[in-house]
Symmetry: C2
Subunit: 396 residues, 2 copies
Amino acid sequence: MNAPLHIRATAATAGPTLPGHAALLAADEPMPLDNGARIGPFTCAYQTYGTLNAERSNAILVCHALTGDQYLVEDHPVTGKPGWWSLTVGPGLPIDTDRYFVICANVLGGCMGTTGPQDLDPATGKPFGNQFPVITVGDMVRAQKLLIDHLGIDKLFCVVGGSMGGMQVLQWASAYPERVYGALPIATAARHSTQNIAFHEVGRQAIMADPEWHGGDYYAHGVRPTGGLAVARMAAHITYLSEAALHRKFGRNLQDRSVLSYGFDADFQVESYLRHQGFTFVDRFDANSYLYITRAMDYFDLANEHGGVLADAFRDTPVRYCLMSFSSDWLFPTAGNRAVVHALNAVAANVSFVEIESDKGHDAFLLDEPEFHRLLRGFLNGLAEHRGLAPAAAEA
Amino acid sequence: MNAPLHIRATAATAGPTLPGHAALLAADEPMPLDNGARIGPFTCAYQTYGTLNAERSNAILVCHALTGDQYLVEDHPVTGKPGWWSLTVGPGLPIDTDRYFVICANVLGGCMGTTGPQDLDPATGKPFGNQFPVITVGDMVRAQKLLIDHLGIDKLFCVVGGSMGGMQVLQWASAYPERVYGALPIATAARHSTQNIAFHEVGRQAIMADPEWHGGDYYAHGVRPTGGLAVARMAAHITYLSEAALHRKFGRNLQDRSVLSYGFDADFQVESYLRHQGFTFVDRFDANSYLYITRAMDYFDLANEHGGVLADAFRDTPVRYCLMSFSSDWLFPTAGNRAVVHALNAVAANVSFVEIESDKGHDAFLLDEPEFHRLLRGFLNGLAEHRGLAPAAAEA
């Protein structure tokens, strides 16, 4: 199972129709994967915002979450909806593109241009499907490092991300401390919890129970397991919100009716909302990518790579850390974030931490949370001062 | 949709093979349902334990939860596993069958002998499927009252139940206060929460997305939507446990292997456990019953039947109440139980309440929880003293 395997990959399925940049990486030498295989060359699709300064010292890498992608700011090319961090990244915003050069790449295994299971396997001329190697957060970050090399950036000013993005931030700072000045992991953990593995497994079982999944080979059948993927998304979506947020948003309000229908239509607004979340998600996401990326999160256990001692992942780190959690986040609770802070304290790292009061649950990092934005901006300003970065272009 | 509809029902599919009692109810006059239809005659399958005393004053009605049934004590006729409350009900146990006559009936819409969607519709000679009326907790309790009439019991000594069973207890005490001496709702709420409706909707969508559901008519096709039902059960099962209990039980331990497989098998014990829960559940439960019973829970909102004022559901109640919640129960949190207590306080009802410290989550009421059992026994003893019940037969 761990026998070396050389995989050549190209992003042939989705790539051509998507706007933005694409780099062909690992062209000279295939990139090793944690499972023992090697992959290369492969395509890495990414977006950039702002301008790289002459010193190449103002680059911020944003790492996206499970179902995110590289379209941070602009309207999404498939859904037409605003970019997932358009409230946070842009001119004058907390991650200020007048000052910083922001990069965001679709993760390895994804479905928005970076090579993943829906792309063609050059060995067979057919989509990889379940022949795509099981990748890890370490592999995602290894691929991003090749992209940063490709862009000629020696040291990232900061790596930022929430949820699975935060896992990547921790992996970056641990694996490549000399390449990272500041690290900002948000609403994350150094390992995926038992409950979170359980929720992921439910989603995967929903997909794999859909007969249109065809053992992962649905591309050849001209179908997609949309029913299973929608159910997976619905289950996951509940975990992104707090009970308080769900209650405030929907309560027991009825949808387009004044009395109960005594049927199985979406009587309640929350049902209608969830169905909408599930059924629209399938238009922009590949079911196999969902399987692979959830698996990468399940496998994430940073301490395990260091003899079970999390502090050893950060020993002698020069990186400046800031961690943030949200009080009502039950998917990545404060305790898991704090465990990282304790490990960093144990190696006397430069670290600050704040739990932000919010009743919006895990999704708070995607929303208009003034306290979160204020702290994000403040940490980056302080980091920029230490780094000797020029003020925002508009002010310069 | 609310046009009166007379439904004649018999429990023909599952009934004959199941041990225990079955009463034909509403034979003289069909029973009205909350949706405006009427049902009858219909079969109610039930079990009893212990002996009804001469005064008929020692009867405890136990109401079961979503996937429970009437087999409280003995090994289950389908799975062979111990009855779901065999730790709590029996000779010398907190609900002492040496002293009390215990009754438990399969709910209307269920699949263990009481008429439900898998049973034959006499009008067509075929199973009801999705032609079964959408029933409510009120309908379940109305059916139970017919059973209690049938058994010749004027006043129940106590009505007890956890989760959806607790909803039935509240409904009993509110609708038939003159028929109930004591009420013991456990780990429940006077209305289903937004988050809980959301989880139920995920389960229903999983079932209805299974092509073998056939719009509810799978009986005619000789198949069952086991894939969808298993996924529904898996998602629900996570909500029955606390994160702490899941972590303690499984952590990130691997299943029958020492290293990650880099695949989609059940690498982690928690995955294997969940799959087992899902795949064994389908052997004993009907997917349509799952749809109908979850819907009944969603619809439960006791205040709504009383102009939005929960206290009005209990005005002038003579019933003695004891409510219990578990500190780590996030499905039916203490706050929802306490809301009932506040409503009872507002009408100066006789009520006691305790939140039991436990990290076992919602399922704690099914487990060997000494504090819970001690309090349960204590409340029933006190109630028996007030009621002037003789001590346990063994002591008499």
